[in-house]
């Protein structure tokens, strides 16, 4: 490894003086998602440790996600596995290594857009993604934009029962 003799040069390179144009400049930088295994119940602690790290060190990640349905993991958004690894290296409560890459569609359902209510309209078919009617399909009969809620009729119910649901619990059905 001849690399070692260039250590000083290498340190110089880490100073962000001139930005080298990357090969994919002009297009969106493509980030990837990595599931990081944590000690059970310590996901929040890990998130806070990573937050402190972001504030004090220069780590190149785009975001960290903590998803309730994904117990024992945090999801890291980074350009590549190397950057993800650098970000978590030495952080307490992280068990093992990266557990492979996640597809964006795997977590998309957890990312509720700010204004679900704006996409809703009467007669649209929606899927209920939270609350007691989770998993059911329904037709929208009324939308309240101020309260961000909608009244729907469940499609699978034996009789037509109108229910008012938080708009964030609704997703337009494909």
């Amino acid at each position: 490894m001849t690399e070692e003799t260039h250590e000083i040069v290498k340190a110089d390179e880490e100073q962000p003086s001139v930005k080298q144009p990357t090969t994919n400049s002009g297009t969106d930088t493509k980030s990837h998602l990595f599931a990081i295994r944590t000690t059970g119940g310590q996901e929040k602690v890990v998130l806070n440790l990573l937050q402190n790290r972001v504030n004090t060190k220069k780590i190149n990640i785009q975001s960290v996600l903590l998803i309730d349905n994904l117990k024992g993991y945090v999801v890291l958004e980074a350009i590549d596995a190397n950057e993800a690894f650098n970000a978590i290296q030495g952080v307490r409560h992280i068990r093992g290594q990266l557990r492979g890459e996640l597809e964006f569609k795997d977590i998309e359902g957890y990312l509720v857009k700010k204004s679900t209510v704006s996409e809703l309209a009467v007669d649209k078919v929606v899927e209920i993604i939270g609350g007691p009617f989770k998993g059911m399909k329904a037709t929208v009969t009324r939308v309240d934009h101020d309260k961000e809620e909608a009244t729907v009729i469940l499609l699978d119910a034996p009789y037509q029962l109108p229910v008012t649901v938080d708009a964030n619990y609704l997703k337009l059905s494909a």
Binding site: Q51, Q62, V64, I67, I79, L111, K113, K114, G130, N168
Partner: protein, 62 residues
Amino acid sequence: MVREMACRKCKYVTIGKVCPVCKSSDLTPDWNGVALIVDPENSHIAKTLGITQKGKYALKVT
């Protein structure tokens, strides 16, 4: 421990009484999931959530 509240409008998580991002005082202790946005410009997650400022956000606010 100080209670973290999420803004009902923009989902930003704060320990203050007013959301520092959108200045709303409509905050709730009922929220779950976290998106810690570090690099909003290059984050696919931030784009999907419509977030343009870095910080800690709730994924779901009830």
